[in-house]
Amino acid sequence: MSAAAEDVVTEAPAVEAVPKRAMTLGLGTSLVVLAALVLAPLFVKNFIIFQMTMLLIYGLAVLALNILTGGSGQFSLGQSAFYAVGAYTSAILMEHFGMNYALTLPIAGIICFGFGFVFGQPALRLSGVYLALATFALAVAMPQLLKLNFFEHWTGGVQGLVVTKPDAPFGLSMSQDMWLYYFTLVIAIGIYIASVNLLKSRSGRAFMAIRDNEIAASAMGVDVALYKTLAFGVSAGITGVAGGLGAIAVQFVAPDSYTITLAISLFLGMVVGGVGWLPGSIVGSAFIIFVPNMAEHISKGLSGAVFGVLLFLVIFLVPHGARQVAIVAQQMLGKLTKR
C-alpha cells in the first residue's frame, strides 16, 4: 500500500522528454511567423488587433507554464494566481502611483518571480499530482485574497480597478490598440528569445535533467532544490509580466477575472500547444481564445459541451498537440522537396 503510494510520488511526471533542439522552430520558420505577426495588424480592424494582443499575452502565460512543466517537469494549476498578482501590481502602480505603464511590467515580473520562488520552496517536497493540487489551492485562494478588506484600499475589493489605456508615444499616429499590440509583441519576442536561451543554457540543462530523472540529476551535481524553485520563479515572473500586460489591454482588473478557470485554460493551452515545445504556446493560446467563441457560435446553450467535444477530438487525434502537427508538416514538406 505505502509502497504503491511512494511509487506515485517518486515517479517522474508524465512529461515526455523533449530534446532541446526540438523545443524551438528553425530560423526560417521563425522569421515567417514573425513577419506575419508584424504585418497582420496593418490590414485588420482594431477589434482583431485587440484579440491578437490577447493572443500574445495568453501566449506568454502559456510559455511560462511550458518552461515549468515542459522544462523542469513540475505541474502547476496555480498560474492564474501569478497572473493575478502581476495584473494587480501593474494596475495598482498605474492607478494609485501614476507610474508609467512600461515601468510597471518589470516590477510585476520581479514581484511574481519572488512570489513564485517562495512558493517553490514547499513545492520541493511535492511532485506530480500532489504538486498540481498544492498549486490548485493557490489558484482557488487568490480571488478571495484579493477581496479581503485589508487590501481593499489598494485592490478596489470586489469592484476591481479600472486602468487607463496608454496612448502611442512620440506623437505616433497609431491607434491605442495597435500601439499596445506592437508593445506587447516586442516584449513577447524578447521573453521568447530569453526563454529559448535559458533552456539551451546550463540552467536549462539542469531543468531538463531534473525532469528526466531527479536522482540522476543530483548525482551529477545539479542543485535540485535551487533549480526547481528557480523554475517556479522564472515561470511566475513571466506569468506576472503577462498579467500586467493583460491588465493594460483589458483596462480592468477584478477578482472574477482570475479564477481557477483561467489556470485551467492556461494548462489546456500548454497541452494543446504541445508540452515542452515553446512555439506551441501561441497555438495553445489561440485555442483557448478562439475555440470557445467557435463553440458558442455552434450552440449557445451547449457551448461548454461543444468545447468539450472539440477538446476531446484534439487530445484524441493529436495527443502531442501542435508539436505533432508541426512535425508531420515538416516531414511532408521534406518529402516534397526531395522529389
Partner: protein, 408 residues
C-alpha cells in the same frame, strides 16, 4: 466681379447649403447598427460558467424580440438580437463588447449582466459613445449621468433597497439588536453599505453581529448558529436564493425567531420559500418591484396574462416560476418602448435621449403603482419598491410604494 454679383453668388451658395441641410434633416437618421429594415441590438450574458443561471435572461429577451419581429417589428424594422457569452469573466466581456461594437456594429449594448463585467466595459463603451443601456445589475454606481452619460441602470439598486429596510427598522423597532448575514462579494457589500447608511449613527449600536460567507461554501448553518448566539432579534438576510432557503430552514431548526428581513434577490416563492418550507417562512419581510409569477394573486392580472401568452407562444421552454424570465421579459419591454420612441431617428445619441425621457411608463411585469421614470439627471429607471410580508403561501404587499433613490 462686382460686389452685387459676389453677394448673389454667396447667397446662392447659402441657399444651396440650406436646402441640402434641410433635406438631410427631413431624412431618416442612422448610426451603425440601424437601417430601414433592422436594428442591431448587442447583448452579453453568462451562458456558461458560475453565473450561468442568469443566462435565461438573454434567452427570454431573444424570445421576446422574436415576438416583436413576428408582430411587424419596431416602426417596420426587425430587431436583430446578437447575444454573446462571457462566462462572467471580465476580460471576456471586454472582448465580446468590442466584437459587438467594432465587428458586428451593434447600435447599442443592451442589458449586459453582472457588476464586474459591466465595470470592465463601461469606460470603453462611453469612450466609443455606444449606449450601455439598462445594465442587468443592481449596483448603485450606474446612476451617474455626469461621468458616464452612455451608461444607464435598470432595476432598483441594492443600496436603496436596504435603505428602505433600515428606515422601516428605525421606525418600527427602534431598540432592535440586528444580526446580518451577507455574501462576500460586490452584491453583498453594496447591500450592506446601504443598510448601514440607512441606520446612520445608530448602526454601530444596533448591529450586534455581522457574518459573511463565500458563494463557494456548501452551507451557511454555522453562521446562523452564531447569529442566534449573539442575541439578535432582527435578522437582515442578504443572501442569494440557495443560501436564503438554507437560512430560513436553519432558523426554524435552531428555534431562532427574529424579525426576518430578506433581500429582494431571494424573494422568490418557487426558488426559496417553497424549498425552505412555508411554515418556516411565515412573517418574513421583503420588498418587490416585479410580480412574483408563482403568486396566485396575479392569476387574473392583465399583465400576467400577456406574459403567459408570450411564454406559451414564443418561449415554451422557459421556466415560468424562474424570476429571471419575467425580469428579462420586462427589460426587453423597456427597450422596445425606448426604440419605438426613437422613431426614424435611430442614432445612439437619440437612443440615450429617449431612454433619459421615460415618464411614468407602466409595464405588465411591474407591481401596480411602480413606474419607470428617467430624466437627463436620473439614470435609475426603476427606483420604487413595495414592502411585502409572507403570509400563508404568498406575499402580501403592505404600505405604500416607496422610493429610495441613491445616486452613484
Amino acid at each position: 466681379m462686382s460686389t452685387i454679383k459676389k453677394l448673389a453668388v454667396l447667397s446662392a451658395a447659402f441657399g444651396v447649403l440650406a436646402a441640402s441641410s434641410s433635406s438631410v434633416f427631413a431624412q431618416k437618421k442612422y448610426d451603425p447598427g440601424a437601417s430601414d429594415t433592422e436594428i442591431k441590438i448587442g447583448n452579453i450574458m453568462p451562458y456558461s460558467g458560475p453565473a450561468s443561471a442568469y443566462g435565461v435572461i438573454g434567452k427570454t429577451e431573444e424570445a421576446y424580440f422574436k415576438k416583436i419581429n413576428a408582430e411587424g417589428g419596431i416602426n417596420g424594422r426587425k430587431i436583430n438580437f446578437i447575444s454573446y457569452d462571457d462566462g462572467y469573466s471580465p476580460p471576456k466581456t471586454v472582448e465580446q463588447a468590442r466584437k459587438l461594437v467594432e465587428s458586428d456594429e451593434a447600435l447599442i449594448v443592451f442589458n449586459p449582466l453582472g457588476t464586474p463585467p459591466n465595470t470592465a466595459i463601461q469606460k470603453y463603451l462611453n469612450s466609443k459613445k455606444v449606449p450601455q443601456l439598462f445594465v442587468a445589475t443592481g449596483a448603485t454606481k450606474w446612476n451617474d449621468p455626469k461621468n458616464f452619460p452612455w451608461t444607464m441602470g435598470w432595476q432598483p439598486n441594492y443600496q436603496s433597497e436596504t435603505v428602505i429596510y433600515a428606515k422601516y427598522i428605525l421606525k418600527n423597532f427602534p431598540n432592535a439588536k440586528i444580526g446580518i448575514l451577507y455574501q462576500n462579494d460586490d452584491y453583498g457589500k453594496d447591500y450592506l453599505k446601504g443598510f448601514k447608511d440607512g441606520l446612520g449613527a445608530k448602526a454601530a449600536s444596533m448591529i450586534v453581529a455581522e457574518e459573511s460567507y463565500e458563494v463557494s461554501q456548501p452551507t451557511i448553518d454555522s453562521h446562523i448558529v452564531k447569529l442566534k448566539a449573539s442575541g439578535a432579534d432582527v435578522f437582515m438576510n442578504i443572501t442569494t436564493p440557495k443560501f436564503a432557503a438554507q437560512a430560513i430552514k436553519k432558523n426554524a431548526e435552531v428555534g431562532w425567531k427574529p424579525t426576518h428581513f430578506l433581500n429582494n434577490v431571494s424573494a422568490s416563492i418557487g426558488a426559496v420559500m417553497k424549498p425552505a418550507g412555508f411554515e418556516a417562512s411565515q412573517g418574513i419581510i421583503s420588498s418587490a418591484y416585479l410580480k412574483d409569477t408563482s403568486d396566485p394573486q396575479w392569476k387574473d392580472d392583465a399583465g400576467m396574462k400577456a406574459f403567459d401568452e408570450f411564454l406559451t407562444k414564443y418561449f415554451p421552454e422557459g421556466n415560468r416560476i424562474d424570476g429571471n424570465v419575467i425580469y428579462g421579459y420586462t427589460a426587453a419591454q423597456g427597450l422596445v418602448h425606448v426604440l419605438k420612441a426613437c422613431g426614424d431617428n435611430l442614432t445612439r445619441e437619440n437612443v440615450m435621449k429617449q431612454a433619459a425621457n421615460i415618464k411614468g411608463l407602466e409595464l405588465g411585469g411591474l407591481l401596480p403603482g411602480i413606474k419607470v421614470n428617467t430624466s437627463p439627471t436620473d439614470f435609475a429607471p426603476i427606483s420604487q419598491v413595495q414592502l411585502q410580508k409572507f403570509k400563508g403561501e404568498a406575499w402580501e404587499l403592505f404600505g405604500e410604494v416607496l422610493s429610495g433613490d441613491v445616486g452613484g
